[in-house]
Symmetry: C3
């Protein structure tokens, strides 16, 4: 496989019209990520947008006020924050391999299309990291999330030497 | 401890009248397992049966339409899929050690017998892997799961050299 | 950084008027913790008190019968059990680094103050472990927990050489 300057995670991110947000600062007595050996554990990230808040549309429950399409956008926004934290840990998107994403979706008791919603996160990670973005995951519907966010995504990454 | 040919995970599986299913193929932009060093992270597995679908009885909520006994059977079916994925990662059941199972149970808001349900998964993993099957775990009741499955189980395993 | 005999996790624990509970014994086919390399995975812990049971006040749902303040106390009680298990794994609190806490909160569908509740756990871990207590985490609201507990906390720790 050849690599050129346009075939990097950073270039793919730009081609998507995206840039990594400034990673959120530590809050209280926990931190956005920790590293143990080559593994990075990223705290649960919400779909906080560039303005530093969750768009009202990205709050609420799937199966109630939030559609699958909007839920996918919320999952994508949360995953962008996960990537920003993991990049802060590794120093460089190009040194990251995605290992496992955990997807928690704010769901009405009868909303079962959880995989479709979390694809918003998985597709972004794969689009940005390429082969290194193929991850294990779980998708579950929960009773509620912080700030009434529609989606929360946490992740485990490997830092490549 | 002596080992003979009948004292292997494969032999124990056969003695239970079980065989590992063909591990499900990658779906979309995520994969059924990833490996980082000696750790394997298995994606959330549903109680998909040999026919490739979830039995109708293994759908629905504990505390509503699904009994504890049926929930245990669903947890066991999900755990069999977890083992199949972990075995695909290691190449051999005998090289696996179970580290942590995460059990998500589709629950009515008042159903608290979650450990009993997840024992269906823990008992299978212990029966198949023996001493190497003693794992940490969590059991929580969630609002909904993909395809309205009664149980979803994810796992972390160690590959033994 | 200087260290003296009063600047240890054990001393901080005593200064808080706390002692580690005797770690609960293995139940059924799972165990309270496992170790893989230098990582320790602690099973989901409930706010079981010194008497071996969950106080009635630490049962029930946030957003319904349980207040944020009582939920914080429940989270702290669960986190004390997490520390006890991790200390059993490492042999010594002083050899532990907290990596990731997973916080599951028994929540009514409209209770979104989940981070405030889980701070009861995060604050304790940081108070006891100091710098080594700064962890990643996720906080989600679930439909139900074992024994109707208000909070369940699981964790990943690193054992320092």
């Amino acid at each position: 496989m050849t690599t050129n300057s346009s075939d990097t995670p950073q270039a793919r991110l730009q081609a998507l019209g995206l840039s990594l947000p400034v990673p959120a600062s530590p809050v209280a007595n926990y931190v956005p990520w920790t590293r143990a050996g080559n593994l990075v554990f990223v705290s649960g990230q919400l779909p906080i947008g560039p303005g530093g808040a969750i768009e009202p549309a990205h709050k609420g429950k799937l199966g109630a006020s939030v559609s699958v399409e909007v839920g996918q956008a919320a999952a994508r926004a949360a995953a962008l924050n996960v990537l920003a934290q993991a990049a802060a840990a590794s120093g460089d998107l190009a040194r990251l391999r995605a290992i496992r994403l955990g997807g928690f979706i704010n769901s009405a008791p009868d909303f079962a299309s959880l995989p479709q919603v979390l694809n918003g996160a998985s597709d972004l990670v794969a689009a940005v990291l390429g082969e290194a973005g193929r991850h294990a995951r779980f998708a579950v519907g929960v009773a509620q999330l912080p700030l009434d966010a529609a989606v929360e995504v946490e992740g485990v990454f490997e830092i490549l030497d």
